[in-house]
């Protein structure tokens, strides 16, 4: 009564990584429609978005679009700019990023959140750019 060994070459891939070691970052795209933004991130394989933009930059549409695209949406609190972000929050985002392919959406020039998260886990940060096309009116 032995457990069945997995057939070689089909399971037990030594290249398999249980946890992510990189995250994406995206500078704020104020005014951009969120639907194509979320769609593009989902197409890149992003599974979770931490939205760390301040104040009015975040919109309810972003959350709805994420839900529609099967992407987790985690709004960072309004006071999540680096200096006041608690270590608990940074640890939470780091843990989430280890398990879900994560994109941090941050305000232009605000690197505090990413650096605090990287203090928890030394992720490689891959910056993404998003081209905002003309908006039809």
């Amino acid at each position: 009564m032995q457990p069945k060994p997995a057939p070689k070459g089909q399971a037990g891939d030594p290249r398999w990584k249980r946890f992510n070691d990189e995250v994406f970052s995206l500078r704020a795209c104020t005014g951009a429609a969120t639907d194509p933004l979320v769609s593009q991130l989902a197409a890149e394989g992003v599974e979770l978005i931490v939205d760390a933009r301040r104040d009015g930059a975040r919109t309810p549409a972003m959350e709805a679009d994420c839900e529609g695209a099967g992407v987790y949406y985690v709004p960072a609190p309004d006071d999540a700019s680096g200096r006041v972000l608690s270590s608990e929050a940074a640890e939470r985002y780091a843990k989430l990023a280890m398990r879900h392919k994560t994109c941090f959406v941050v305000d232009d020039g605000d690197d505090e959140l990413l650096s605090l998260v990287s203090e928890q886990v030394p992720f490689t940060t891959v910056p993404l750019s998003y081209e905002v096309g003309p908006v039809d009116v």
């Binding site: 009564m1 997995a6 399971a11 843990k95 280890m98």
Partner: protein
Amino acid sequence: MIASVRPAERRNVAKCGVIVVCAPGDAGAHATFSPMAVAGQDYRWNGEIGPLGEALGSVRPGATYSVTHGGISRAFTVAGRGDYEAALRDCGALSSDSSLGDHPELVAVVQAHWHASGSNGCRFAMYLSEHRERFGWETWVMRDRGTVQAAASAIAALTNSRIDEVEVDVLSFVLPHVTSSSVLGEIVQCLGTRDGWRVAEGGDATDKDIDLLGLTVGIELGFWSEVLGFGQGEPLAHTRRAPFTELAIRTKPPRGARSSKRAFMADVPLDADSATMGRWKKETKQSRSQRLGDVHDARGKAKWTTVVQRSTGG
């Protein structure tokens, strides 16, 4: 800093096969390292079947059950606690004057071997249990606390402290002193009343004397994780009749968002390619239907933790 979860470091720790023993009521914050379980304490095991695998491979399953499905009857033989006890005695791992239940380090390995043997009907669980370090299955063998309430409190406290740990994908509690489904049902009901837990009840159309209990626990990102129960006793589904009573929790939400907010064991990330996963899915479906048949199909579903028989309370 979450130093211990860096992939390279974590692998090194796992290779050591460390065993951690915690004082009663301690949630792990002051864990000390020890190669052996300490009497009267909860015992944490996150190792693998390893050295005992060969000895347990010689276990002679003594229990049988028959299931009719699709007009075909099949008989299955499964190993119970006594069968494992005999195998461990034969190889000298268990002395003639001691009981398996008194050795939490053996209890944990035996239960892991039972999962890996396929008796639970799930091909994914077999692989998962065979490679626990790699996939993060942490088991606690709980000491006897005397009452259902105390057992539930201890499980809740440990769950609270371990469920968010990034290296833990599955958290299970083995209760060697619980030998009936009625007591497991009471523990489930008791847990269901606590903050962060809930229990649903349902009926089984194949047996009006059966109540189904579905325990869930709140986890990260607003998900509710379905808790699987295993143990002893006639009313339990064939695929849940294990050498020891156990509650197993999938501790993390799935990689991708899901509107149902349900989390379950099938989401544990494995290192198999899509073709293998597809084959295992077919094997699981077939094994499950053959082992459960029509009568045990409902009670064997993942959303139901355990079963209580109304007339006997068990």
